[in-house]
């Protein structure tokens, strides 16, 4: 029982980080029909931005702010203007190929210019554990859960309770109608790209102390975030959260009670089951397409 509580708390914390990256997938898809297979590298790059800053004596909180700004500019505005805008009019496939290429390019860039080895990354949370319901949970797990949860809730409130959030939802649901009603669709889509980049920077801050900063750390995160988005429902932001947490918790439970060797396969198996029996995702809604 004690193990179970520990496993669930730490699994939920890891899952919440997957959810942050998965949220980016769903937001980009809803706002612009973009599937970004470089999402994992969008998490990896801020880790190295923060590392460059901290190795020069910049405190971690300031390094994180720098990483957010750099990510917003390069991975938000730059990614949209240079990669997405010229390609999206040609359909999803050229964009998928381009983001796969971008993923390889970013990995090799970091590998060649910084290091091929994993780099230790400072944690925002103190080391150690504290007692909870008769067991011990780490400050890191609880802190990660709180920060990720706070960000997901804030994002949901922003989308549902603010004027700009409503405009973003309107663009995601019906771009033609939004244009006719005077909503600046281009700006709303740009906001989504910036939000995605900042979410990735937050995920980077939370996961890098565990995964260590490495040029290929995005492979696993990007893949699990993609699976999480599909498991939860690609057209539902709340689905990304559910998918992420499910993967995180099940990975921990299978890894502990069955074998650590099966841990990495959990997301894939869950993804296949959902695709077979509920292709729109657990919380997703089936979409009608005109042919």
């Amino acid at each position: 029982m004690v193990d179970l509580i520990q496993l669930i708390v730490s699994g939920t914390a890891t899952g919440a980080i997957y959810a942050l990256a998965a949220l980016g997938f769903t937001l980009l898809w809803q706002a612009s029909g973009t599937i970004n297979f470089a999402q994992g590298e969008f998490v990896m790059l801020p880790a190295f931005t923060m590392l460059i800053c901290t190795t020069r004596g910049v405190p971690l909180w300031l390094a994180f702010l720098v990483a957010c700004v750099v990510s917003a500019i390069l991975l938000g505005i730059g990614f949209k203007r240079i990669v997405v805008d010229p390609l999206i009019r040609h359909g999803v496939i050229p964009l998928v190929i381009a983001t796969l290429g971008l993923s390889i390019g970013l990995k090799q860039l970091v590998k060649a210019s910084y290091a091929a080895e994993a780099q230790p990354f400072p944690s925002v949370f103190p080391a150690g554990q504290f007692p909870l319901f008769g067991t011990h949970v780490s400050y890191s797990d609880v802190g990660t859960l709180l920060i990720a949860g706070l960000i997901v809730i804030s994002l949901q409130l922003f989308l549902k309770r603010t004027v700009t959030g409503r405009a973003m939802q309107a663009c995601a649901q019906n771009m033609d109608a939004a244009k006719v009603l005077g909503i600046n669709v281009k700006t709303m889509v740009l906001y989504v790209f910036i939000i995605n980049a900042v979410l990735a920077a937050v995920a980077s801050l939370l996961i890098s102390p565990t995964y260590l900063a490495k040029f290929d750390m995005g492979d696993s995160i990007g893949q699990k975030a993609f699976f999480a988005a599909i498991i939860g429902g690609f057209n539902q932001t709340s689905g990304a959260l559910l998918g992420g947490v499910l993967i995180g918790v099940l990975e921990n439970l299978i890894g502990f009670y069955v074998s650590p060797a099966y841990k990495e396969g959990v997301a894939l198996v869950l993804f296949m089951v959902v695709i077979l029996f509920r292709p729109e995702g657990l919380l997703g809604k089936a979409e009608e397409r005109k042919v």
């Binding site: 004027v163 405009a167 939802q169 649901q173 244009k179 006719v180 009603l181 005077g182 600046n184």
Partner: protein, 250 residues
């Protein structure tokens, strides 16, 4: 043609797709507060004309002026900011938003600047106006339901209410009665008359329901094969031999 000062001026608009002339030299004008009906058989170029006026497609030649300004080829966003709205043949509501949020979303962009909207109240100061429109369109009992869960007729009413939320100076309505239960058609016509009276905007209405258009529009244009075949008061157009031939065949 109208004797009131010109408000919308469509000048010799042409739109060709290769050898096919979808719109072939159409000219007409609409005065302030005027309601003009556009009728014609399927494929006569009515919707292409609308799309050419509203920047959805670029006309091959010709021009469109609104309040003396050349608006030819302007984007729907630029036109919306000048007070030009439209509805489409197909439903264009935000299905996952509530009815009330649909109406607020339809007007919120005209309330303030973009940075100010980031910190604006959730209803953007439009809650009262949205409630008035909901009352007017008899949608109060479904105001908090998601638009996508409602019937086609109710969604059509939301669609039209959305077009009028920002109190536009000109609205182009593309087949407002299409798919609407006949019992709602009279209600819709009364609503449009009331909006014309209270908001004072000009309307251009494409419609196949002759009874609806004859009762609503003091001026009617009949298009056939991309050209204006006849125009004038509804009774006159309805009695026109060429119009009858176009509809019924020789």
């Amino acid at each position: 043609m109208t004797t009131t000062p010109s408000f919308l001026e469509v000048k010799d608009v042409r739109k060709a797709y290769g050898a096919i002339k979808a719109v072939d030299g159409v000219s007409f004008s609409v005065g302030p507060g005027e309601i003009v009906g556009v009728i014609g058989p399927n494929g006569s170029g009515k919707t292409t004309l609308f799309n050419s006026i509203l920047g959805q497609i670029k006309p091959t030649s010709g021009g469109v002026e609104f309040c003396g300004e050349d608006i030819t080829g302007m984007s729907p966003l630029e036109l919306a900011r000048r007070g030009v709205g439209r509805t489409f043949q197909t439903l264009q509501v935000f299905t996952h938003l509530s009815v009330r949020d649909n109406l607020i979303a339809a007007a919120q962009e005209f309330k303030s600047t973009m940075p100010a909207r980031l910190f604006a109240a959730p209803d953007a100061g439009l809650g009262h106006h949205a409630d008035e429109m909901i009352e007017m369109f008899r949608l109060k009992h479904v105001a908090h339901l998601k638009a996508g869960t409602l019937s086609y007729g109710q969604q059509k009413l939301i669609d039209i209410a959305m077009a009028f939320m920002p109190a536009p100076r000109l609205v182009l309505l593309d087949e407002p009665c299409a798919g609407v239960n006949p019992s709602l058609v009279d209600q819709l016509r009364e609503l449009l008359c009331e909006l014309n009276r209270t908001q004072g905007g000009s309307f251009v209405v494409i419609e196949h329901n002759m009874d609806f258009i004859m009762k609503l529009c003091p001026h009617v244009i009949c298009m056939v094969e991309g050209k204006v075949l006849a125009e004038g008061p509804p009774a006159e157009v309805q009695a026109n031999r060429h119009v009858l031939e176009a509809y019924l065949g020789n």
